[in-house]
């Protein structure tokens, strides 16, 4: 210890300290970011998948995304977006995109499962990115109550507390989540499609994502305990209903009650 304190005024001490500091912060950063870093594809794609996917990509996607998915003026580069992104975008029909607009619309799916898998394999082969989640995370057996809390804190401001969807600025919107498969929900969180932010594994852990999916599937499957949910849109739908249906029926009755006099 004494030797060290004696050398503290050595001309190289400052440089050594700087190096040490850089090493520590760099090392910590590396550790921290690996949590966020998309893992390399765990799904086993065969060589043939990748090859077929490349052909499909060239025929259907390259017009906008460029040959080799390097991106053009009309579409972003897909290097490193991962298999999850392809599975979500193509699997929900958002890609190939119907038209340019504030965001890609959901529409009937254009590729079958096999083709979607091949496209995912091709894009995954271009660079590491989020992979298609394992079945264990999609079993809908997480903690629904905790999922609900996570959902309210992270998702409800756009998707509505009952996941009925909501408006964003300039024609963009957060779609309703009923009827969306657990796999697509997971992929959306992992990749942040359209205007959605990315919720990486440091932000919401895979278990948290599993809880959210459990919660969403629970409110979807349990139905509405209080009767028809009127779109689960809150007080606006309720007000519209009471004015049109409630008062409407009552006015019909008042007309009936006063129809046989004077």
């Amino acid at each position: 210890m004494k030797a060290l304190s004696q050398k503290r005024r050595h001309p190289l001490a400052a440089i050594a300290l700087l190096l040490m500091g850089l090493l520590v912060t760099g090392g910590l950063y590396a550790v921290a970011t690996t949590m966020n870093q998309a893992k390399a594809s765990t799904t086993n794609f065969t060589e043939q998948d990748t090859e077929e996917g490349g052909k499909l990509f060239a025929a259907n996607c390259a017009t906008c995304h460029g040959m080799g998915a390097g991106g053009t003026q009309d579409g972003p580069s897909l290097v490193g977006v991962g298999a999850a992104s392809v599975d979500f975008q193509v699997g929900t029909g958002r890609m190939p995109m119907q038209m340019n607009g504030p965001q890609a619309q959901e529409k009937p799916v254009q590729f079958n499962e096999e083709q979607t898998r091949q496209l995912a394999a091709y894009v995954a082969s271009l660079g590491p990115g989020p992979s298609i989640p394992e079945a264990g995370l999609l079993d809908e057996k997480g903690n629904a109550a905790e999922g609900g809390e996570l959902f309210r804190v992270n998702c409800a401001m756009c998707h509505n507390a009952a996941a009925a969807g909501g408006a964003l600025t300039r024609g963009k919107y957060a779609p309703p989540l009923a009827g969306v498969s657990g796999q697509h929900i997971y992929e959306a969180m992992a990749t942040g499609p359209q205007n959605m932010p990315v919720f990486n594994d440091a932000n919401i852990s895979p278990e948290g994502k599993r809880d959210i999916i459990t919660y969403l599937k629970q409110i979807e499957n349990n139905g509405s305990p209080g009767g028809a949910d009127l779109g689960a849109l809150g007080p606006v739908a309720e007000g519209l209903f009471v004015w049109i249906a409630g008062l409407g029926v009552i006015i019909a009755f008042t007309i009936w009650l006063t129809s046989r006099t004077s």
Binding site: G148, A156, M157, A161, L168, G171, P225, A245, F253
Partner: protein, 559 residues
């Protein structure tokens, strides 16, 4: 002498036991006298007269269902962990108030149904008050002697909104907490005293631990008591003034044509209570309202998309949404002596509502001042026969509806696939242009309908039967109206503008000039009802229509 005569009069003894008991009670409370007085009260029959009744019955249902809810609701903001049958919130940290609301929904037998009855009845309560007031306004029922009752009705509307809002906040779910947060923001935007009021109301910084208990007391004690008091006043004045009636043959300001309360009307009204109850019960049984379990416990950090107040507070929320934060470089927020003046919250939250309610309360006096009409009115106006009043009403209604729609701007955007920003821009424009357009269009429509009425009164109804005369002329046969129908088309007043008159000192005051200008605005464009002489001219000889039409042109002073 008198003592002897009473002693000699044979005492009336009822034949049956029930009769004897009735007689016993009647001698002590004078029930038959009350019944004679009230049972003979005549009420005119018209469907549009029944919205006040709907409001009254909704209020009764609110009292009954609300009492049930108080048995199980606990307004404490103490922290607890949910342990009920709803798995979606199992073990989540929340307030006791929210937990007991969930228990009412899931663990109390019939609790969810009663909660939904209460909430639907509340929405219907305010809606029926609103429609009732629109009916009263557009038919001119607020005129003398009913001005004060109009004010009582307006107070009832405000109290109903207060009752609704305090109730909306009680479950302490995310939605209601967001609503409270907005109220807190509005209170804090009041210059100087705002922050003090907010800290007083919430017992410290928002949300604190006392607000639910305080709102609960207001909701179940003070506000309903005031509503009840106002209802008593309102009904008392209805009895004193007697009911208004629509114009018709044999109806005038000195009589009421209709059915006596007993027995037919009482039976109808009693039956109608059960109809209203039935409609509310069906809605509560089959349609969810305020699914608090979806919203989760209140937590100041998350704000859900689609957060709106119940419909009656919607117009204030809409005004807040329409207000721009900045216009170009112009800001609405100032710091004066260290106090922040946030006009972009203060203006939209208080000014439109203030204008609406001020004009609403003062309108009977405004119109009385302009028309100098100090007579009692018991016969209503058909809206078309008071074109300017109808136009003013529609302008106000349109203004309200623009703000109301703005509260749902996000849902308009998502459901009609338009941009939220565009919805806001359009509604901002309509906020200013809408009332003006509504005024002009309504006035023109009303005048056109009056002209049509006049035309029908003079020439009869078009039958669509074309007849060719021997000399080749084609005419359409017009069927004359019967007298009863014609009365409806000609039996109304059409006041002419009252020019300014000098006061006792021979001076035309500036105020009188303003009144005359307003009178001109009100009555310059008018269609006079067909006079008996014109009717005689029109019906006496069928040939020369032209002469009558020429007279029409002259007499109907339009434009």
């Amino acid at each position: 002498m008198s003592a002897a005569s009473t002693a000699e009069a044979p005492a009336y003894v009822a034949k049956t036991k029930a009769g004897r008991i009735t007689d016993f009670v009647d001698e002590r409370v004078g029930g038959s006298g009350i019944l004679r007085e009230f049972g003979r009260k005549v009420f005119p029959d018209h469907w549009s007269f029944m919205f006040g009744e709907v409001a009254l019955y909704s209020f009764v249902i609110l009292l009954l269902s609300g009492t049930f809810l108080t048995f199980f609701f606990d307004p404490s903001m103490a922290e607890t962990h949910y342990d009920g049958s709803f798995t979606g919130l199992q073990n989540v940290e929340m307030s006791v108030a929210y937990s007991s609301s969930l228990d009412i929904s899931f663990d109390v037998r019939g609790g969810l149904f009663m909660r939904q009855v209460h909430h639907w009845a509340a929405l219907l309560f305010v809606a029926s008050i609103a429609v009732h007031m629109l009916r009263v306004f557009f038919t001119g029922a607020f005129r003398k002697p009913r001005e004060l009752n109009w004010v009582v009705g307006g107070v009832l509307l405000i109290l109903a909104m207060a009752a609704g809002f305090t109730g909306y906040s009680l479950p302490d779910d995310l939605l209601s907490g967001n609503g409270l947060r907005i109220i807190d923001g509005v209170i804090k935007s009041i210059p100087v005293i705002g922050t003090y009021i907010s800290f007083f109301l919430f017992g410290g910084e928002f949300p604190g631990t006392v607000i639910i208990g305080r709102l609960y007391m207001l909701h179940i004690l003070l506000v309903p008591a005031l509503i009840l008091l106002m209802i008593v006043l309102h009904l008392f004045m209805v009895v004193v003034h007697k009911h208004t009636q629509y114009p018709g043959p044999g109806r005038n300001d000195g009589n009421v044509v209709g059915y006596p309360l007993g027995p037919v009307y009482a039976a109808k009204a009693g039956g109608f209570f059960f109809i209203v109850f039935g409609v509310i019960a069906l809605m509560a049984a089959f349609f969810t309202i305020n699914p608090i379990w979806n919203y989760g416990p209140y937590d100041p950090s998350p704000v859900s998309a689609g957060t709106q107040p119940d419909w009656y507070i919607g117009f204030v929320d809409g005004a807040l949404r329409l207000m721009p934060g900045v216009i170009g470089d112009f800001h609405f927020e100032y710091v004066i002596f260290g106090y922040v003046l946030t006009l972009n919250v203060l203006l939209p939250a208080l000014v439109p509502a203030g204008i609406l309610f001020t004009v609403m309360f003062m309108y009977p006096w405004i119109e009385r001042w302009i028309t100098k009409d100090n007579r009692e009115h018991h016969v209503l106006d058909r809206p078309r026969n008071a074109p300017t009043r109808t136009a003013i009403g529609m302008a106000g209604f349109t203004w309200y509806c623009v703000m109301w729609a703005a509260a749902g701007s996000d849902l308009i955007a998502t459901h009609f696939n338009v941009s939220l920003n565009d919805v806001t821009y359009w509604l901002r424009a309509l906020f200013f242009i809408g009332p003006v357009l509504a005024f002009i269009v309504t006035k023109r429509v009303a005048l056109a309908l009056q002209r049509k009425d006049r035309e029908i009164a003079l020439h009869g109804r078009e039958t669509g039967r074309i007849v060719r005369l021997p000399h080749g002329e084609f005419i359409e046969v017009h069927a004359p109206l019967d007298e009863y129908k014609r009365y409806k088309l000609v039996g109304f007043e059409s006041p002419a503008p009252l020019p300014a008159v000098p006061n006792e000192h021979g001076i035309v005051t500036r105020k009188e000039k303003r009144r005359a200008a307003l009178s001109k605005l009100f009555f310059e464009d008018r269609v006079a009802p067909a006079t008996p002489a014109e009717l005689e001219a029109a019906h006496g000889h069928h040939g020369p229509h032209e002469a009558v039409e020429a007279a029409d042109e002259q007499r109907s002073l339009t434009h």
